[in-house]
């Protein structure tokens, strides 16, 4: 269970990086990326994923299937 950033939509604003409670978000070579091994979708920390909450683009951060 983790989230991922849709590369084609991310504008590299960086708003998501500081709000991640598990420091799973880093700036990648192209756009920001989420470490699927550490992302908890904010469970235990917040009611809703904080990156999704602050992201200015709709449907840019989505749940990783499987």
């Amino acid at each position: 269970m983790a989230l991922y950033i849709v590369e084609a939509d991310c504008i590299s604003c960086g708003d998501c990086e500081p709000v991640c409670p598990t420091q799973s978000i880093t700036e990648g070579a192209i756009v920001f990326k989420i470490d699927k091994r550490t992302c908890t979708e904010c469970e235990g920390d917040f009611d809703v994923p904080q990156c999704v909450k602050v992201c200015p683009i709709d449907n840019c951060i989505l749940p990783l299937e499987a």
Binding site: E7, A8, D9, C10, I11, G28, A29, I30, V31, I57
Partner: protein, 234 residues
């Protein structure tokens, strides 16, 4: 007669100002202005007219005209705002420029990106690809008379809804959120730059390796994007 002759430029401005006023032709405006300052009219006399004088002239001929409309007419008359000569708009038809994006630049002088999103006089609209750029439209930000607008910034954003990017000298947070909501990417510049520089910078990025969101806006399929993408991310 010659002493009553208007300079060519002043005559043009009177004609333009008359068009900004409801049911007013140049003759009616000239009559009112003559009532304000007498003949002959000169630049300096026109520059001295204020809203109160204009409203009172000719027994209140324009007393019922809205203040903002009169102020707009005055600014045209005095050459203080929006009647600078605008650059010519170039023809554009959908499909003329492959892999192009449409952008808007907030400008007050039609030369620089120097406008605040919520206060600029114009949006200069360009269609740009890596090789070519055309100024395809100059959109006034004036709200048409009689139109009730709940939110000025939403109205402004709607005027450029067909654009992917809007370059501004400054924009407020809530306004930026409204712009993003309409699918437009706001770009606030560090310092004022000319329209030509901004367009050519964008062209360089487009011709080089555009970021994924821009490539998507250009209509480039993910599979056609740069190979190093995949390697770098993996």
């Amino acid at each position: 007669m010659s002493q009553n002759a208007l300079s060519r430029e002043l005559a043009l401005r009177i004609a333009l100002a008359a068009r900004a006023l409801p049911d007013t032709d140049a003759k009616r405006l000239v009559t009112v202005l003559a009532g304000c300052v007498g003949m002959p009219m000169t630049e300096s006399k026109i520059a001295a007219i204020d809203l109160v004088t204009l409203k009172a002239a000719q027994q209140g001929e324009f007393a019922n005209v809205a203040d903002d409309v009169l102020l707009q007419a005055l600014s045209i008359l005095k050459n203080t705002a929006s009647d600078k000569i605008l650059p010519a708009v170039q023809a554009y038809q959908e499909g003329d420029l492959p892999n192009s994006v449409r952008i808007a630049c907030a400008s007050d002088d039609a030369i620089h990106v120097n406008g605040h999103f919520g206060g600029c006089t114009w949006f200069m609209v360009y269609q740009v690809n890596g090789e070519e750029a055309r100024l395809i439209d100059i959109r006034s930000t004036d709200i048409p008379e009689g139109l009730v607008v709940d939110d000025k910034n939403v109205y402004r954003a709607e005027q450029i809804q067909d654009c992917k990017v809007v370059y501004v000298a400054s924009v407020g947070g809530p306004a930026a959120a409204k712009i993003v909501k309409l699918g437009i990417h706001p770009m606030k510049l560090e310092e004022v730059e000319s329209l030509a520089d901004i367009v050519s910078q964008l062209q360089q990025v487009m011709a080089g390796s555009p970021p994924p969101w821009l490539a998507k806006a250009m209509g480039i399929e993910a599979s056609e994007r740069f190979k190093f993408d995949r390697k770098a991310v993996g």
